[in-house]
């Protein structure tokens, strides 16, 4: 059956799709083209004439050690926060799925963090992890300066990883729980009859059947941690100390809006865009093949 509607009147068809096309052009293609243009030119910070410079902007960022540092910390951040948020979400979803006492209340509460804006999350964690006043300052009582994200790069990294995972965990949790609940109860019961305990059932039956969900969340989480971590970093660490949390997306912001170097920021965002596209492509191409869709 041909589901497509055909319009004899091309003008009418064009008029009907025009608003949608216009929206996409104004809010997506136009800024992208603008960024592309900026990436291949030098933009004076206070307006005026610009100059076409070809690949020079890209050559400059790729030759910059500070840029490679931001790539490195971005990858570390993406790997750690994806692992932590997916791992925690899976654990919580498996426990809620067992329908122990109070599971309905927890199911509700676990989703809330995702509804909180990133800067608010950042603010909360900045307070919790403040070395002199937060809850975590208790460990500094044991050994002075054991924890200080304002001075130690790794502490700062741990802080933003935890804050970001806390937020993403809520999102992942809902997907895992929905997927777990779509696994027929009979399979779990059959495994129980086969002598399999709770942990063994999770490992042998539930997690393998979650593979499609796991793959989807992997793509989403990696992408999110590359492009959507700005709010948390800006409030908690500001990219420091000593650029230890200067992720690519944060560097784009600080180079562009604080350094007023639009051309370099544009070139970096093009690189980030290509990186995310490339990562997603690689995941679909190679990881998805190993996912068994039952």
């Amino acid at each position: 059956m041909d589901r497509r509607a055909t319009f004899d009147n091309l003008w009418l068809a064009g008029a009907l799709v025009a608003p949608q096309i216009l929206l996409v052009i104004v809010f997506f293609y136009w800024p992208t083209m603008q960024a592309l243009y900026w990436a291949f030119s030098t933009q004076p910070p206070f307006g005026g004439t610009n100059q076409w410079v070809g690949w020079q902007n890209f050559q400059q960022i790729f030759a910059d050690a500070v840029y490679w540092n931001s790539v490195r910390v971005s990858i570390i951040f993406a790997a750690l926060s994806t692992a932590l948020s997916i791992g925690m979400a899976l654990l919580l979803a498996l426990m809620i799925d067992r329908q122990l006492a109070g599971h309905k209340a927890y199911r509700f509460v676990y989703f809330w963090p995702y509804a909180i804006a990133a800067p608010a999350v950042g603010l909360a964690f900045r307070f919790i992890f403040a070395p002199d006043a937060g809850f975590v300052s208790a460990i500094n009582q044991l050994a002075p300066n054991l924890w200080n994200p304002a001075l130690k790069g790794w502490d700062a990294m741990i802080l933003i990883v935890i804050a970001n995972s806390w937020k993403m965990m809520a999102y992942n949790f809902i997907f895992f729980l929905a997927a777990l609940q779509s696994i027929p109860r009979g399979l779990i019961e059959a495994a129980a009859m086969d002598g399999s305990g709770v942990l063994r059932r999770a490992r042998d039956i539930q997690i393998p059947l979650l593979a499609p969900t796991l793959f989807f969340l992997l793509v989403i989480n990696i992408t999110e941690s590359f492009v959507d971590s700005f709010g948390i970093i800006d409030i908690t660490t500001g990219g420091g100390p000593a650029r230890a949390t200067d992720l690519m997306v944060f560097k784009i912001y600080s180079d562009g809006f604080k350094g007023l170097d639009y051309s370099m920021a544009a070139a970096q965002s093009i690189v980030l865009m290509l990186l995310v596209i490339g990562l997603t492509f690689v995941q679909f191409r190679y990881v998805e093949k190993r996912v068994h869709y039952a």
Partner: protein, 370 residues
């Protein structure tokens, strides 16, 4: 030895009680079928034996050990589920061998036993396939194999044949019976299909609304149903049940005045008692027109069932079916019949209980197990 004792078992979900004081002894090696309509609590009872449902009150003992608080894996039962519940991401061999893998058996030993079971259930050629690549009957065999490989003391079957087509169902029924003869393990089989129950069971338990209506060998339940419910549930085509009132020691009268003769020695009845008269379609005798005591039934239509014919008629204004061998001449217009007095089952209309001086016993569970 793995006998099962169910003592005063009750089950409630919140305030809704689904099982009311079930008492049942299942002998070692017995094939017991729990038969009942959907929602009667039969699957719940089976799942309580398996350990998949909690026991609200009472206790269940397997081989003399109370299992109320034991995990399913500690009870030594294997179960075949209605929808098979095969692990979709594992091959047939992995499905069958999963219990052994969990038990930590060495790989060589596992493979040997999986191959042996596959041979018994006829799946040798399919060991590398996944469940989604199998037919319904093959999936059923995998489920059976998975239950068998643990060499359990007790087999539990939860309507395992209801997803199969009619022909396959008959075939699998035979295979389950054969399997039981070979393994001699205590088996509890839940079904709503009375033919399955009749053909498989050493003993049938008929359940209705969370209570046991009657328990006994298939023949006894068929010949002497203890309640109106059992009478109507067992037998195909179903028993004719005619509401009537006792007007004399040897006669009952239906609403339209039709009278049916009763054997005065068999039943304990009072004049004026509301009863239901049960007659199985195959017990009705077709006689020559004008015979003494004959009822002339108005034939509505006839169903040809191959080896026999089912004639739908009316008696005293009520639907009434007569089963006759196909060889007999076709009935048209009016069919003269008599109802043999010893073929009549009489039930109290209010309590549904069988009205008889004594219920003859054809062999109880106790004598079968002895």
């Amino acid at each position: 030895m793995a006998d099962i004792a169910i003592r005063n078992v009750e089950k409630s979900y919140g305030k809704t009680a689904v099982l009311h004081g079930i008492n049942l002894e299942i002998a070692d090696g017995e094939f017991l079928v729990i038969l009942g309509p959907s929602g009667c609590g039969k699957s719940t009872l089976l799942r309580m034996i398996a350990g998949l449902e909690g026991i609200t009150r009472g206790e269940i003992a397997i081989a003399g050990r109370v299992v109320n608080t034991l995990e399913p894996r500690e009870r030594g039962c294997a179960m075949v589920f209605q929808n098979y519940a095969l692990y979709p991401h594992m091959t047939v061999a992995e499905n069958i061998g999963y219990a052994l893998k969990v038990a930590g058996l060495p790989k060589a030993e596992r493979e040997r036993r999986v191959a042996e079971i596959a041979r018994i259930v006829g799946l040798e050629a399919f060991l590398a396939r996944r469940p989604s690549e199998l037919s319904g009957g093959q999936r059923q065999r995998v489920a059976m194999g998975r239950a068998m490989i643990r060499e359990p003391k007790v087999f539990l079957f939860d309507e395992p044949l209801s997803n199969l087509d009619a022909k396959l169902r008959v075939q699998m029924r035979l295979e389950i019976r054969r399997l039981h003869q070979r393994l001699q393990a205590t088996s509890v089989f839940v079904t709503h299909d009375q033919i399955e129950a009749m053909s498989l069971a050493d003993r049938i338990v008929v359940m209705n609304q969370g209570r046991i209506e009657q328990a006994g060998p298939p023949r006894l339940l068929y010949a002497e149903p203890a309640t109106r419910f059992v009478a109507s549930f067992l037998g195909a085509p179903a028993m004719n049940l005619l509401p009537a009132t006792i007007v004399a020691k040897d006669r009952a009268r239906m609403a339209d005045g039709t009278e049916i003769a009763l054997d005065p020695g068999r039943f304990v009845v009072e004049i004026g008692q509301a009863v239901e008269i049960g007659i199985r379609p195959e017990d009705v005798m077709i006689v020559w027109p004008g015979s003494e005591g004959a009822h002339a039934l108005e034939v509505e239509f006839t169903e040809d069932m191959g080896s026999s014919r089912l004639i739908h008629t009316r008696l005293g204004g009520m639907e009434f079916t007569v089963l006759q061998p196909a060889a007999q001449i076709e009935a048209e217009g009016h069919l003269p019949i008599t109802i043999p007095e010893d073929a009549i089952h009489l039930f109290d209309r209010h309590s549904g209980k069988r009205l008889e001086r004594h219920i003859p016993v054809i062999g109880t569970a106790a004598s079968a197990a002895a």
